[in-house]
């Protein structure tokens, strides 16, 4: 089309059976004011090179599938727009710190395993049934945890976290924020069950307060705040553990 703007995407490619190391492949594509980076990738896949591999689904920044590094910053491809990278080229690579499965597809299994270990689900004090009715929870009580409940598990914060880059044993921003989401919920009584994950060296104490996780979060979750909010309680647990013969069990 006449007068159409174009931009070059330099996309990182890697096929585990064919490539020894990742490399960049340039693709030049048309774009308009509203074209997202994801739509750029889709254009390439549909029209130019069907082998380019990436995850996507909702294309409205809520499913968390399409996280990648765009010009070195973790971002959701559907929520980043090519106009902001013009005249280009713009570099698109898989999320940092996560094993690459193919092209832009990373391995999410470490995150999922940590989520399970951390028991990020409501653990009630008593087995309530629907016949007992809904819990009462005021808007003020909800505000304690609500921001942390906005996590879409997109893993941008893991790509941003230098600590996770050094040591993958670190539980990491999103899982710790989700632990805090349940620990702060007035309906929950599972803090003890999650304590070991939080207090471990790989828990809140693994965080070195860089805060980049919170900057890149597309949902304003602020995992850095969640983690640091939790450190005083973790200190108290530690000290009480010294005072108790049983060593750290029970509720402080």
């Amino acid at each position: 089309m006449a007068g159409e703007r174009t931009i070059t995407l330099e996309v990182q490619r890697f096929h585990p059976e064919a490539d020894e190391a990742p490399y960049l492949q340039p693709y030049t594509i048309p774009f308009s004011e509203g074209t997202s980076v994801l739509e750029g990738l889709q254009h390439i896949k549909d029209r130019l090179d069907g082998s380019l591999t990436f995850r996507w689904s909702c294309r409205m920044a809520v499913c968390g599938s399409c996280g990648c590094m765009i010009d070195g910053e973790p971002a959701l491809a559907c929520r980043a727009f090519l106009r902001d990278y013009a005249p280009g080229p713009v570099r698109v690579a898989p999320l940092d710190h996560l094993p690459i499965r193919r092209d832009l597809v990373v391995d999410q299994s470490d995150f999922l395993a940590k989520l399970e270990r951390a028991r990020t689900y409501l653990i009630p004090a008593d087995e309530r049934t629907p016949a007992d009715g809904a819990y009462r929870q005021t808007p003020e009580e909800m505000a304690d945890y609500y921001d942390y409940a906005q996590c879409i598990n997109c893993l941008l914060c893991y790509a941003a976290c230098p600590q996770y880059g050094w040591d993958q044993a670190f539980t990491g921003p999103a899982v710790l924020a989700l632990v805090q989401r349940y620990d702060l919920d007035s309906r929950d009584a599972g803090k003890d069950a999650r304590r070991a994950v939080v207090n471990a060296d790989t828990g809140v104490w693994g965080c070195t307060l860089v805060g980049y996780c919170s900057e890149v979060c597309p949902k304003g979750v602020d995992p850095a705040r969640a983690i640091n909010q939790r450190k005083p309680a973790s200190v108290a647990d530690y000290l009480l553990g010294w005072l108790r013969p049983s060593g750290g069990e029970g509720t402080p």
């Binding site: 064919a18 509203g34 082998s51 995850r55 689904s57 909702c58 409940a149 929950d188």
Partner: protein, 594 residues
């Protein structure tokens, strides 16, 4: 030979709301069950995540189950199976409370009780909501709750390629592990399909890319008819071009729609008068079929607003005020700013209809059982009979909870009674046969690109099976789809022939299923010679015809040929068909849905 296999008691295909709710129900009903939960995406990526506005369940003292029943049946233009609607509305409130007890952050009243909001076609506030991220919170709550049950074994990023059916009984599925591209056979005496709708048969839709209809198509190919496929819902308020959803909750909170002249045009379509506002079952809180049809007429009359992405009308939230918009509609605010370049605090959002929901699907009874032993379906892929010809907003999230649970419990009983391994030998052979066509596609040397066929599909469906249809267009659509299926059979050529994360291959497999579902939609529409709900014609059949068409449509697959169609009775228990009325007409009749 398919090398890998997993023997379970129950296989669930789909990790969205319905699949997760079914898994939890089965695990609770029978903790000893081995439940294989397959999903082509990690469950929290499922399309349930994108639902925004709410989930219906009677909550207020001034509301009643009869009210929810009547609104649903009238909203469905009397094509609902009323016995199932009765069970549905009775089960909704308990499901909402259960979700609450699992941690769902429902929006609250000042005293701590859950809050409910208005939704289109509902007589009073009965839609439970979590700001405008109801589906997101519901899905994450369900997903996180599944982590408590050791019996639920997740197979994330497994694409279900086919059902295994032996001797008239479902006995498992053949899946492809996406990471390796390897076929894996899952055997079980009970299979639940929770694979979602087929909105991606259309180009402009609110659906995630994964909503490609393969669960419906697989059941269909194995002899299960698809029911009421002509009823496709257009959501009236989506972003032009992308089709990104702008929730009905905007109107529930008091947003208004205006045309190019600034007029609240819905008053000209039997939904007025405009004031007082907001009020239930009037104006912008009319049902989705009427609102989408009104847009189409405004566009024909030249009263829409042109945008770079096509015609639109204006959704104005400004009168809500900043605090209410940011509290109740934060996702919409971000989406409008980011994706439309409009700040809803200061300007109206341009919106237009786009395909949103597949009312039809795999027919089931109230327990989720399909007409094939061992097969169950829940959620959007199912046709339980509650939506009729037009689904009311917020009934689908409620549906996936109510019928996800019912299907999970019924499938758990079936699993225990039937026992494992009955079909073991046959299943292995069936799996091998099922894998063959998928693997053969990797070797095609000739054919068309996936995108070329998909674009042609979208063009046909948008043009001929749209908000308004007519006989000539539907004939053309059926012919086009037969030809597209033939082109697909002749060959799809892939750039990518490898196995590992071959997403081009997966989209080619999905497309084959979508084409077949689209053909069922078009042919079912062609056979319905009346207008009802979302099936609206602008030819000789522009009126509802209860004499001939107060019936379900059943499309039976016939291999490469077009489907065979038959009609089947609708169950009516207590609400005899009446003329649908909203706005002043409904208010004159006493507001009881008549």
């Amino acid at each position: 030979m398919t090398e890998r296999s997993v023997d379970s008691d129950l296989v669930i295909v789909g990790g969205g709301g319905a699949g997760l709710r079914a898994a939890i129900a089965a695990a609770e009903a029978d903790p000893g069950l081995r439940i294989a939960l397959l999903s082509k995406v990690v469950p929290m990526r499922s399309h349930t995540v994108a639902a925004e506005g709410g989930a219906a369940g009677v909550a207020r003292a001034d509301d009643s189950l009869a009210g929810h029943f009547t609104d649903t049946v009238a909203g469905g233009d009397w094509l609902c199976d009323q016995d199932v609607v009765e069970r549905f509305v009775a089960a909704c409130p308990e499901e909402m409370v259960r979700l609450e007890q699992w941690g769902c952050p429902w929006s609250r009243q000042a005293d701590g009780r859950p809050q409910v909001r208005f939704f289109g076609g509902m007589t009073t506030q009965r839609s439970w909501y979590a700001a405008d991220k109801t589906g997101f919170h519901l899905l994450h709550t369900l997903f996180q709750t599944t982590l408590r049950y050791p019996g639920i074994e997740r197979y994330d990023e497994y694409y279900c390629a086919d059902l295994l059916v032996d001797d008239g009984e479902a006995c498992g599925v053949l899946a492809l592990e996406i990471a390796s591209g390897e076929p894996v056979r899952f055997s079980a005496p009970a299979v639940i399909l929770a694979t979602g709708g087929a909105g991606r048969a259309y180009g402009q839709n609110t659906n995630a890319g994964i909503v490609t209809g393969e669960g419906m198509a697989m059941a269909y190919a194995h002899g299960v008819p698809l029911r009421d496929m002509e009823f496709v819902q257009w959501h009236p308020t989506t972003l032009p071009g992308s089709g990104i959803l702008i929730t009905e909750g905007c109107r529930g909170e008091g947003g208004v729609l205006t045309n190019r002249e600034g007029r609240r045009y819905l008053q000209d379509y039997g939904l007025g008068p405009p004031e007082p506002w907001p009020r239930p079952k009037a104006m912008e809180l009319g049902p989705r079929d009427w609102l989408s049809q009104a847009f189409w007429r405004e566009d024909q009359a030249g009263r829409t607003v042109p945008t770079a992405q096509g015609a639109a009308v204006q959704l104005d939230l400004r009168q809500l005020g900043e605090a209410r918009i940011l509290e109740r509609l934060p996702l919409i605010t971000d989406v409008a700013r980011r994706f439309a370049g409009v700040d809803p605090l200061h300007a109206p959002i341009p919106v237009r209809p786009a395909v949103h929901y597949t009312m039809g699907g795999i027919p089931t009874d109230a327990e989720g059982a399909a007409p094939l032993a061992g097969l169950f379906a829940a959620g959007e892929c199912a046709s339980t009979g509650i939506h009729g010809a037009n689904r009311l907003g917020s009934n689908s999230l409620a549906e996936l909870l109510v019928f996800g649970r019912a299907a999970g419990e019924a499938a758990a009983r079936r699993a225990r009674e039937a026992g494992r391994r009955r079909h073991a030998r046959a299943a292995a052979q069936l799996a091998e046969a099922a894998a063959r066509p998928a693997l053969a596609m990797l070797r095609n040397e000739r054919g068309e690109r996936v995108a070329a066929l998909r674009d042609a599909l979208h063009a046909t469906m948008e043009r001929h099976v749209g908000i308004f249809r007519n006989q000539a267009g539907l004939e053309q659509a059926c012919a086009d789809l037969a030809e597209l299926r033939e082109r697909y059979r002749r060959g799809v050529r892939l750039d990518d022939r490898s196995r590992i994360y071959n997403t081009e291959w997966l989209s080619a497999l999905e497309l084959g299923h979508t084409l077949q579902v689209a053909e069922a939609m078009a042919c079912s529409a062609r056979a319905r010679l009346e207008s009802r709900g979302a099936h609206r014609r602008d030819d000789a059949y522009s009126e509802r015809d209860d004499e001939r068409f107060l019936v379900h449509t059943l499309a039976h697959a016939r291999g490469e040929a077009a489907p065979a169609l038959e009609h089947a009775p609708v169950t009516i228990t207590r609400a005899a068909p009446q003329r649908r009325a909203y706005g002043a007409a409904a208010e004159a009749a006493g507001g009881e849905g008549a």
